[in-house]
Amino acid sequence: MTLSNILTPRDRRAALADRPTQLARMIEIREVEAAIQGLFADGHVRGSTHLANGQEAVAVGIARAIDPDDVVTCTYRGHGHALALGVTPVGVIGEICGRTVGCAGGLGGSMHLVEPEVGLLPTFAIIGAGIPVACGAAMAARARGTDRVAVAIFGDGTANIGAFHESLNFAAILRLPVIFVCENNLYGEYTRMNLSTPVEDIAVRAAGYAIPGVIVDGQDADAVEVAMETAVARARAGEGPSLLEMKTYRYSGHSRSDPATYRLPGELDIWMKRDPIPLFADRLAAEGAIGVGGLDAMRAVVKEEVGLAVAEALAAPQPTLDEIFAHVDAASGGADRRWHFWSK
């Protein structure tokens, strides 16, 4: 495990190959979300912010199963995915605090994290919008003769928007190398899934497009990784898309200061009993990959790192007015910083 704040996003991604680092990354996500909650309370975060604590295993499992050159479209609930994919805590926290050190220079905010270096497109704030975009990235990968894949990450509530349906059909008929990952955390905003969706498993909808639909234990990082690897292999082999449903749960409310009073009684406790972090820590201990007290020691280190990241973010400058105009279109005169996917 290495100090995440001094590594580049790609280095951070590579570091995930190490299983203890994988655990540390899950802890990092948990701690960063906690820090953001605090920053929000202290007025450092504007608008809205959507935490993903509880869903760490999904993020890390996905990040391990794909390469940094694979493309990912994600949602406003993207802090965990951004960190797992490699964005630094400073890049995430800085963005959410609107600072120049943020991954979008402070102009995007909590809902629009981005890092082309590790394949992350600006996360999408409109429900379903990232799903067809992932299909297009997959089209480009194939057209350009690479074996890159695209991953579209979205929630259970998003499985009811037109773009979900159109995209799965489109990808299936074109046999696109794309993996549709539905993070089923049981709620869409303040509405429990059973009140918006007549089926219990989103995965069953895959049959409507003749593609594999797989239900995955989203609390187990290894289960997520294995399921992803199968879907990714299938995609790289030209066999088309898959729909993976990650059964998971969000510990926080939907956004901002939502107390989540709409939860079913006891539901949160039940899910916390299978918290992805101790679950994975126990496995590493059994493997002998970490020793006794290893988790606590690790948490202490990560906490400190995140504290440093918060300090660095808050110490960083605010963007200047000219940034508003720097990158509207090519004529804007902002420096050409274009990222070229898969170019030799």
Binding site: S110, I324, V328
Partner: protein, 332 residues
């Protein structure tokens, strides 16, 4: 005389409309059990029940289209689009279906539907949750568009929109939901659609605005001999009130929460330039947003939006020189 928040006025308007007319019902994402993401519909479910206050799946095309069908069949649906941007996945139902129903049925079928949407910038929601976007629907034959500017107009416009026999889009500036306004509440109060309001009379310049820019204009107007008009209805807008004012003042300035290319001021200023040709003392002037997406950072967003001092400065410059001042970003 009580001070009430715009949020409360909207809720009151919805509740009163449902009390008065059994055909009115409300539908949208998380408006019922949760009371709305901005707490605008809090208590509505408890008062009017689940058959009339309906939570929907995340399916704008489905529930906006369902609003059209319900309206055709004798109901008065009030559909909430949480953020106006979301209509980008369902626009067809409003502009192509709702707006042509009466025309295609030769007056036999109508769509008395209201689409409410929170809109506008200023709160750090980022560039995909901070626009007005009235240009997507403005000027569509058969469709009206109004913008609330506070508790009183929110109540009056919404009641009038719900009673209108045709589809109406009601934009609610999100940033005003929490603002309080002194207003003697009256359930019979209506703001007639198509009518603007002169909020402050003045002789040197007519300052036309709407929505969240109204308080900005009023503050800016202090110490200036400006007549401030709240347009209220963006389509069809109140030609008479604007023209009469300009005939008196001889100067027109629009304050628009939109980039120049999509703002409502273009059509308005063009009409004024035509009607008041040769009678204007100064060139018409438009104060708009820059041609860029809404920035997240607080300092940037507060500059991105016209502030009272900036508007005052722009108007003062026009009055002093009878020439158009440059926008702030021309200095960058």
């Amino acid at each position: 005389m009580a001070k009430i928040r715009m949020r409360q006025a909207v809720l009151q308007a919805l509740s009163d409309a449902m009390d008065d007319d059994p055909s009115v019902f409300c539908m949208g994402e998380d408006i019922a059990a949760a009371g709305g993401p901005f707490k605008v519909t809090e208590g509505l479910l408890e008062r009017h029940g689940p058959d009339r206050v309906i939570d929907t799946p995340i399916s704008e095309m489905a529930f906006l289209g369902a609003g059209v069908g319900a309206a055709v069949c004798g109901m008065k649906p009030v559909i909430e689009m949480m953020f106006i941007e979301f209509i980008g996945v369902a626009l067809d139902q409003l502009t192509t279906q709702a707006a042509t129903m009466r025309y295609l049925s030769r007056g036999r079928l109508t769509v008395p539907m209201v689409v409410r949407a929170s809109a506008g910038a200023g709160q750090g929601f980022g560039c995909q949750h901070s626009q007005m976007l009235d240009h997507w629907v403005r000027g569509t034959p058969g469709l009206k568009v109004v913008v609330a500017s506070g508790a009183r107009t929110a109540y009056g416009l919404l009641r009038a929109a719900i009673e209108d026999p045709d589809p109406v889009v009601v934009l609610e500036p999100r940033i005003l939901y929490g603002e309080r306004e002194e207003w003697e509440f009256d359930p019979a109060y209506r703001v007639p659609l198509g009518k603007a309001e002169i909020l402050r009379s003045g002789g040197a310049v007519t300052l036309v605005t709407c929505g969240a820019m109204v308080p900005v204009a009023m503050e800016a107007a202090e110490g200036i001999d400006a007549e401030v008009i709240d347009l209220l209805t963006l389509w069809p807008w109140d030609r008479a009130t604007v023209m009469n004012s300009v005939a008196r003042t001889g100067r027109i300035v629009t304050l628009e929460e939109a980039p120049r290319g999509s703002g409502w001021g273009g059509d308005l200023v063009a009409e004024v330039a035509q009607a008041a040709f040769g009678k204007l003392k100064a060139p018409p002037h438009r104060i708009t947003l820059p041609d860029a997406p809404v920035p997240y950072n607080g300092g940037l967003e507060s500059r991105y939006l016209p502030s009272a001092p900036y508007v005052a400065e722009q108007v003062a410059h026009l009055l002093a020189t009878d020439k158009n001042p440059q926008p702030w970003w021309s200095a960058l």
